[in-house]
Amino acid sequence: MEILLQQIINGLVQGSVYALVALGYTMVYGILGLINFAHGEVVMIGAMLALSALTALLGLGVPPLLALPLSLGLAMTGCMALGYSIERIAYRPLRHAPRLAPLITAIGVSIVLQNLAMMIWGREYHSFPQLITNSPHNFGGAIINDIQIIVFVMALAIMAALMVVVHRTRLGRAMRAVAENQHAAQLMGVDINRVISITFMLGSALAAVAGLMVSANYGLAHYYMGFLLGLKAFTAAVLGGIGNLRGAMLGGLLLGLIESLGAGYIGDITGGFLGSNYQDVFAFFVLITVLVFRPSGLLGERLAERA
């Protein structure tokens, strides 16, 4: 029973990070109908920037509780600039091109980012500095530590804030309008280019937070971390119904749970044939299963072919 509870806690924490990244995919998809392949790499760049800034600031003797928000702010700014540039350089000129074209530039962007990161930060794993005494708490027999609590609470808070932005502000209304119908929104005086840029920047800021969270949670960052994370977050977005914000959050949490429970019990189920080293495979099977049985996702509307 304790093990089950432990798996659920781990799954929810991991899932909340997936949810943050999935929001980035789903926002862009909702507005442009485009899968931003490079999003996973933005998460990685965010983690790397935050980690470098944190290490540098701590080295200067800045107290950890000041260094953490500072480096998070820096990573978010950097990622927002990156998200803006990606849209400007690789997607905007191709907005009316055949659909294959932006997909190919997107994969090009992620290759470029990955290799730039490798040149800058090297191939090795970077460890996350110990900021707070990460004390474990006993929670009904399972262990939950401080970082996990912070990650989970922060992710929920950010998601709530995003919902407020999208549903209660003028900008959010413009975003929803562009998602609904670009031309109509433009006729109503919405500057669609601005809205699209802001969407990319918002998604990238979330990616930066998620990047910091992942590296804090695992204590590691690596130039290749964005690839699988992006793939899983995309799966989460599809699971919840791509284009749907609540769906992305639900999908993220669910995928985290599936993965953690799956990795925990696959050994027992298959009689030891497959072990927890197949953890990364679950997301893929979830993706295929969703695409076979309910391609619109749990909360999504019917997917129509865009003419």
């Binding site: 899968i35 997909l103 695409l291």
Partner: protein, 366 residues
């Protein structure tokens, strides 16, 4: 296809040049470069296979190398002593099927994986196929890396070695053979084998392109809704394109395993898929000559970089700051972006493809 006198002469000259290529390369650049040329031929085969999927049918396959891996492991398992480890009782010496039996099998197995993967995704928008194939490429690697326990099927990250060489009519291609008094080293023999296969692949893709199926693929690529309105069964034809691409990938994989004598999961990373995609995009999607050009350029580029970047940096900075491998990938990524922005139809565009990709500009001009 009727040829006039001039193109007959050109074709003959090309054939002779290709037949002499390994000897010329050997004499001018050394034996190592013949091997590189062999690999270039393999890549061209792969790129031509992917061209059917991406170029003709307009489906983005980002895990193409996975089918190559499936083919390679098919031959690695059935043409090496390896299975003796997993099933010592059933196969005390491993399995040693002839390459010519395994080749169609490998193509078939890869094709099966293609169908398995394509069936759920091809009903949906093209983006899903891209991401599912991307995932599949990674999953295959996870399985290859981990299926060494509890039953040692793939030998994990160490890979499978001592794979039987390919032999043609009982003549092994792995040792130097004397034919008509001329010594043909192993790499030369494999070159001719690959040349024959490449010619076959070129022939098949050309016939496909001009067939009813090929025209249907291009119609789907240009406008799926219009195509289905014209009575084309888009889902089945897309599946056919995808499966056929997978088949070519699988066959090339078996050739690779026989040539290399060794396979490991490392050879089938995402970067390889991207490299093959780059060949297709750079050369010209949907155009066979363009794809071949792209294949040649990108297969030789890493070697050129390896021989130029490191010495150049040593001379300039006194140390190696950027390793050629990551520089190569950086160039590939940039090439994908720049090509799509400025020359979306590739270096050697196919006429139809160019018309299609230029429609927006053309519409604006009108």
């Amino acid at each position: 296809m009727k040829l006039d006198h001039k193109s007959k002469i050109l074709l003959a000259a090309l054939a002779i040049a290709l037949l002499l290529l390994p000897f010329i390369t050997d004499a001018l650049l050394g034996r190592g470069w013949v091997r590189i040329v062999d690999f270039a031929m393999l890549y061209i085969m792969l790129a031509l296979g992917l061209n059917i999927v991406v170029g003709l049918a307009g489906l983005l396959d980002l895990g193409y190398i996975a089918f190559f891996a499936v083919g390679a492991y098919c031959y690695a398992l059935t043409g090496s002593p390896h299975l003796a480890l997993a099933f010592p009782l059933a196969f005390p010496n491993g399995v040693h099927l002839s390459f010519w039996i395994v080749l169609p099998l490998a193509a078939l197995v890869a094709c099966g994986f293609g169908v398995l993967l394509g069936t759920p995704t091809l009903r949906l928008r093209g983006d899903y196929l891209a991401i599912v194939t991307l995932g599949f490429g990674e999953i295959i690697r996870i399985f290859l890396n981990n299926l060494n326990a509890p039953v040692n099927l793939t030998n994990g990250p160490q890979g499978i070695s001592r794979i039987d060489p390919v032999s043609v009519a009982d003549v092994s291609l792995n040792i130097t053979q004397n034919i008509f008094g001329i010594a043909f080293p192993s790499v030369h023999l494999y070159f001719y084998l690959f040349l024959a296969f490449t010619a076959l692949v070129i022939f098949v893709s050309q016939r496909l392109e001009r067939s009813r199926i090929g025209r249907a693929w291009m119609a789907i690529r240009e406008d799926e809704i219009a195509a289905s309105a014209m009575g084309i069964n888009t889902r089945n034809l897309k599946l056919l394109a995808f499966a056929m691409g997978a088949m070519f990938g699988g066959a090339s994989g078996a050739l690779f395993a026989g040539f290399q004598g060794f396979v490991s999961p490392e050879s089938f990373s995402l970067m390889e898929s991207i490299m093959v995609l780059c060949m297709v995009v750079l050369g010209g999607m949907g155009n066979i000559a363009g794809v071949i050009l792209g294949g040649v350029l990108l297969a030789v580029l890493p070697e050129v970089l390896r021989h130029s970047v490191v010495p150049l940096q040593q001379a300039l900075f006194g140390k190696t700051m950027v390793d050629p491998e990551s520089l190569r990938m950086l160039l590939f990524g940039t090439a994908l972006i720049v090509m799509m922005l400025y020359r979306p139809a590739g270096l050697l565009p196919s006429r139809v493809r160019r018309r299609e990709l230029d429609t927006d500009e053309a519409a604006e001009k009108v």
